[in-house]
Symmetry: D2
Amino acid sequence: MRHDLNSEEYRELQIRYRNWGRWGAEDEIGTANLVGPETVARAVGLVRLGKVYSLALPLDRNGPQTGKGLTGRSNIQHYMARDGGDIAAAAGDEPQFDGTDDLVQLYLQAGTQWDALAHAFYDNRMYNGRPTTDVTSAGAARNAVTGLVDRALGRGVLLDVPRNEGVEWLEPGRAIDTADLERCADQQGVEIGPGDFVLVRTGQLAQVRARGAWEDYAGGPAPGLSVDAAHFFCSRDVAAVAGDTWGLEVRPPEGDLVAPVHVLLMVNAGIHIGEMWDMEELAGDCAAEGCYEFLVVAPPLNITGAVGSPVTPLAIR
Amino acid sequence: MRHDLNSEEYRELQIRYRNWGRWGAEDEIGTANLVGPETVARAVGLVRLGKVYSLALPLDRNGPQTGKGLTGRSNIQHYMARDGGDIAAAAGDEPQFDGTDDLVQLYLQAGTQWDALAHAFYDNRMYNGRPTTDVTSAGAARNAVTGLVDRALGRGVLLDVPRNEGVEWLEPGRAIDTADLERCADQQGVEIGPGDFVLVRTGQLAQVRARGAWEDYAGGPAPGLSVDAAHFFCSRDVAAVAGDTWGLEVRPPEGDLVAPVHVLLMVNAGIHIGEMWDMEELAGDCAAEGCYEFLVVAPPLNITGAVGSPVTPLAIR
Amino acid sequence: MRHDLNSEEYRELQIRYRNWGRWGAEDEIGTANLVGPETVARAVGLVRLGKVYSLALPLDRNGPQTGKGLTGRSNIQHYMARDGGDIAAAAGDEPQFDGTDDLVQLYLQAGTQWDALAHAFYDNRMYNGRPTTDVTSAGAARNAVTGLVDRALGRGVLLDVPRNEGVEWLEPGRAIDTADLERCADQQGVEIGPGDFVLVRTGQLAQVRARGAWEDYAGGPAPGLSVDAAHFFCSRDVAAVAGDTWGLEVRPPEGDLVAPVHVLLMVNAGIHIGEMWDMEELAGDCAAEGCYEFLVVAPPLNITGAVGSPVTPLAIR
Amino acid sequence: MRHDLNSEEYRELQIRYRNWGRWGAEDEIGTANLVGPETVARAVGLVRLGKVYSLALPLDRNGPQTGKGLTGRSNIQHYMARDGGDIAAAAGDEPQFDGTDDLVQLYLQAGTQWDALAHAFYDNRMYNGRPTTDVTSAGAARNAVTGLVDRALGRGVLLDVPRNEGVEWLEPGRAIDTADLERCADQQGVEIGPGDFVLVRTGQLAQVRARGAWEDYAGGPAPGLSVDAAHFFCSRDVAAVAGDTWGLEVRPPEGDLVAPVHVLLMVNAGIHIGEMWDMEELAGDCAAEGCYEFLVVAPPLNITGAVGSPVTPLAIR
């Protein structure tokens, strides 16, 4: 259900879930602080089958980006610095070793990705109250994605909203609120708690595949989280929330609020957000077994000062 | 010890360890075929502490690459498509959400990385006998790094050669052969078998840090594997071998052989190679506890046609 | 008029206009050899008004490229390495100098451009009979665009085909042949000779502006040169031919021939080709004055090994 | 001679030569307004021989940039999107056309270049009093290099300071002041006036070639203009000043002033600056003939919002 908060309600919600200072004035990782040896060890214990799922979309020119729109992001561009043709051209009479080499131009948030806490600002502040001057052309001096390199693993829980509601996918514009999430968790028989990595499926990737075209997947209308869903995640102190859409949030947005879930989760609560995680195969197997929890391991690249990172999230059941 | 094979011995070795066709004519991943639910489940069982180590060097302009030399690789270049200054400049009277965005130019093998099997050629052939025409400017049609996205995890074993020999690091030019590796494994009390991910430490990163400069770490003299080490890894059917140097192999090379370990492991046996994995902290803790095995999870980016990938390898003890 | 040559006729035409060896076996610039002090001095003498026209389209993300299609070229991407926000953030109490800095990713043929002779191959040969192994991932060892840096100037002649035919623009698919060009030159009262830079206007940019959208300008149907037009240019020994469309040639192509004008002019005769030159303002003034000749100055960037170059061609009347 | 102004003298100089508002509040090109049909027609009349000189350094990986230092600029990186190897690999039985394609990553000020007026700020203001918020990650909204596309031509005058002083090159640290420039112009027998393009030779490129290495050419000590040279150029209303060094100004700087010539010429007077123009061959011929004036044509790329541009300046005598 869609929720349309007025500015006072929105402000109140931000203050309620604000974790600034909770882990000290110098903290840069928010609820990822709740990931630690105990949560990791427990999460590892969830693995029963040894079955591994990559949740990464292919990174290539056939991706969802258009180079236009809100962000102007383009799909990855991959170039060969040395390819087989070069090797053949350089080959002499004697057999020899030779190697290929390649490079990319990559918008860090072009495909399956993590948002760093340095990605999201509200009123010129990011998580822990930091100012815009902390993110210059030289990158993020604070709240960069590197804080997550050894913290992006733990108990994963899939909330498969469309399957729980008996549909293939949620339609664009459909907002998922706390009541929806609680109902889904209840019916799936899972509880969610501190340090968890929650994967919220909308099924939009199933819709994309059914129609055989990305169309406006990147930046267009989408099902996704309502501002109201912040209650669900913030009160449970999850480490991160990942979705299968471009921006996690419902689009078009509810009322006048721009990216309120980003504001509540990232700016205020310090909860990391993952986007465009492909949960389709995982979701099928979770449903078949009636088990929605697993180990998730999703380390970002260790790019100094980055405000996002491509990732190959693994779910291991 | 350094070994200098003549061309007949080298040819014989290539044939002995050649796995072409072993997993079918269409196979693209070599011994990563030996990674499966059983090896993963067993590897997960090695986790006792929940302690996580990132083995990724920082990806930034202070990296080891020079833009010159054998490969001409430069360090990652990171640009902001939208930064805090833009957000401040665009801010209106009403508080609002705004987001930063960034992108990189990245040589896929510039830092901590995987070589895909499509990286290595000998006599115009790569793993499974594939020709140079399989790697064009459009990327690798076969043997790309994407074959590893859900296979790059399992039992990790660290072979800490310098510590085993009582030195801080091995000097450049020092070749590690099968006898060295067997002695190290014996003294550490570990056995290595099919589907394992073996991390061979030379300590060169400790040396780099002690001198405070990369100098010619990327492409210069280095300690590393002797051609003779192929016996150790190929006969044990390991899934992958990772080192802490630029190229895994001893440099300058032994005799006339160019990258013979790449040729034997990658081209012939189909064993993936990791380079520039930072094992320093992990090695200290392994030694302190006398335990050298752990879960390793190191999924590459899912870049279609890539011949390498940056990676944030995690070791979990 | 469209012409559909059979393979024998096509082969005969290639041989007839082949200039391989004409300026020696080492030559890399073809008919640009006909540009020299005399032609330059004469061309300078054409300037009467001192009026300058830039024929360059804007280079930005709103350009015609789509990142898809035949070439996969994307529009230029422009990034700030240091912008005003950075300067403001770094400003101290004392007034001081500070500087902005920027960079681009640029497909060399994405906008108004020159094709180098190393761009065009037929039967695995480029101009002067050179093989494919002369253009590797390291760039063009021969026939690169750098040969043109001090030769891309001389007498420019505009052939305004649509205006001569009394229409605003030629429709896509309309082929311009030698008879059309001769008629146009006659009615405009100009003759064309050795070392000239001929600008052929189709008016497609006027059509693009009238409809307010690039649509398939880059790679879609277009008016342009017929294979038959090769007679006109090759027999006159022009230095270069530039058009106002994506690819100079009529599209869809005539019969089975793929880019026959590129093959005849570039591969065989060694005549350089310019594309996407914006002649609209220039054409208006030429018509108003009844004078179609001028000085053209269009030096490419001096990029070692490049097979094309962006350019800001100037016409000076 | 080196000059060390105190802050009051510096401030006074800025005000004296400030052209803000002179061509209206909307002006973005400063003294390039003085380039027009008359100056162009007169400059064209200087051409006697038809001899053409490219003043562009090669743009390749062997350029002067290091990726480090003040600006972090790296040399151009050139990649093939389609090369000869690809063409050979794709070739079928029938002879056919095929084309190569390439792209670059290019710092716009990495080689022979123009600074746009949007490059230089003092006290958070650029030419015509514009604020830092006019240059965001989206580029320069004002004072971009595109204002110069049809204005970067006119009468060129070479001031060959070392030759006039009887030396091969000026040593790093040598400051060229107004007295030096006047003496040089007098002895060369040239006068300089409104709308001229003045090329100041220090000979540092001759020194680089003599030693066979760039060393710290990009950003290290260099001969160049003294703050005092502003009198010479500003009082004469020149259109632009170009040098043969990395930054035009003497380095190390005079006293506490950072880039005072950039501040006086660009920020205040609106005079464009060219850098790394290679005048060596031109200078030799000018001296041999005793004639130091010529036509210069140097259009920047038409990159929307760019704060600099690579250029192939042509001098035509």
